[in-house]
């Protein structure tokens, strides 16, 4: 089992979700975060006070998958989020030790999907 964490641009979320659903990956958690990689921020100005290089709004997806779904998920996220510009985001794959479905108390690979 793996936990996939992906940081993507907020305006690509709908495409990412569509691509994931096409790959039969339907269970996701989405949160709003701030961050930046190499992408520079926009200058903000408040009564003459300038701020640059700010943290930018990003969307973070967390998806728990069985091992055979890792590559399809990565492909789907990349397809949905990629624009070729800096700021497209990153995908992290972490090992997942246990997964529990709260409703039925199932555990393991059966509980993931």
């Amino acid at each position: 089992m793996k936990l996939i964490i992906a940081i993507v641009q907020p305006h690509r979320l709908e495409q990412v979700k569509d691509e994931l659903y096409k790959e039969e990956v339907n269970l996701i958690t989405v949160s709003e975060v701030l961050g930046h990689g190499r992408q520079k921020g926009v200058t903000e100005v408040y009564r003459g006070m300038k701020e640059t290089g700010n943290l930018l709004r990003k969307i973070r997806l967390e998806i728990a998958v069985n091992d055979n779904f890792v590559e399809p998920t990565i492909r789907a996220i990349t397809k949905g989020a990629q624009t070729g510009e800096m700021g497209d985001g990153k995908i992290f794959v972490l090992p997942l030790e246990e997964c529990v479905r709260i409703r039925t108390s199932e555990r393991g690979s059966n509980a993931i999907g």
Partner: protein, 447 residues
Amino acid sequence: MRIMFLFFVLSAFSGSVFADAGASLSVPVALSTSATPAKIDSGDTSWVLISAALVMLMTPGLAFFYGGLVRRKNILGVLMQCFIILAALSIQWVLLGYSLSFAPGSGFWGGFAWVGLRGVGLEPYPDYSATIPHQAFMIFQAMFAVITPALIIGAFAERMKFSAFLVFTLLWATFVYDPIAHWVWGVGGWLRNLGALDFAGGTVVHINAGMAALVTALVIGKRNCYDKYATPPHNLPFSVLGAALLWFGWFGFNAGSALSANGLAANAFVVTNTSAAAAALTWALLDWKFTGNPTVLGTITGAVAGLVAITPAAGFVGVGAAIIIGICVSVLCFIAVTVVKHKLGYDDSLDAFGVHGIGGIWGSVATGLFASKAINPAGADGLFAGNPRQLGIQLVATVVTIVYAFLATYILYMIVDKIMGVRVAQKEEAMGLDLTQHNERAYTMLE
């Protein structure tokens, strides 16, 4: 830093100011042209009562204007300070403040004849207005007494203890606002007798609060984060709403000061709107030119500055002057807020001095330039109408207000600081005033 300011101000004061004090001009400056016998006029009365309500709305409007500019952990602190002033000062005013400000007493202050509103009834008091109930005048003035100390909040936002704030504000109202109001507007007030023109409170409200703001900002010190990172406004939409309520209420503030439903009120209404508009436009253009884009914060700040500057002049100048006053105030305040403040390094967090202090000073001086008896025969002519003497009188009133507000606020602040400590502890400042001063959170995280 503070010593420099005090020294500069004291030498300026001692140099010149009382040249005109011996003048024989003792005509009280009437706010309206009525010399009629005392009879209640329903138009005048309803306009003044409505204006009082409009000015009352400016205090919550100010609360949201300031509230949107601070960080989210401090907005309740700002809202609470404004609301408690409305409550506490309303009581102080009827018990004591109105008497100190407006009772016919010495040149310094009104004295205690009207304590508890004794003698302040429902018949007109012709020395202030012959056509409205005395209590209508009183309650109209009450709203001015409420909003003036609220303006100072901008200087010490995010770091003042609530308890010290309450004590300081009540003392300030009694020993700074009430005397200055008496000098400029009260029967027997020495600046009024000198012939100083202040239609709705350029000196009494804006220069007064602006100087108090400067003093408190200097003495309370910068916010802990000030040199480390910028703190952008957490809710600019609130600030826009607040600014809109201020603009709306200002029609009561300025046009209501005519104390009559007549042409003078109409003039004040028109020039108020015109000055605000000119100033808002100017600031937007200045932002566009010097920082890249017109900003919402700049535009609303310009509008407020324009309203501040026209306040002393509203019953004495016309539309052309209003446009010039509005353009100039934005230029001056833009420089004060974006250049001077950062160069000098003081943390006037929400620019109470930069907008109200500087704007009020310009407005008071501009009144001496542009005033015209053609607009208000009961006023005076200014420099451009051929009477340079009025400019001198305006300068006296301006400097006197600057010096007294500065010194008296400083003394009161030091007293309160000695007794109870004014600034919150570092830990409390980091956690935010909402939680530490009021046990409340403005925005829940979950439900």
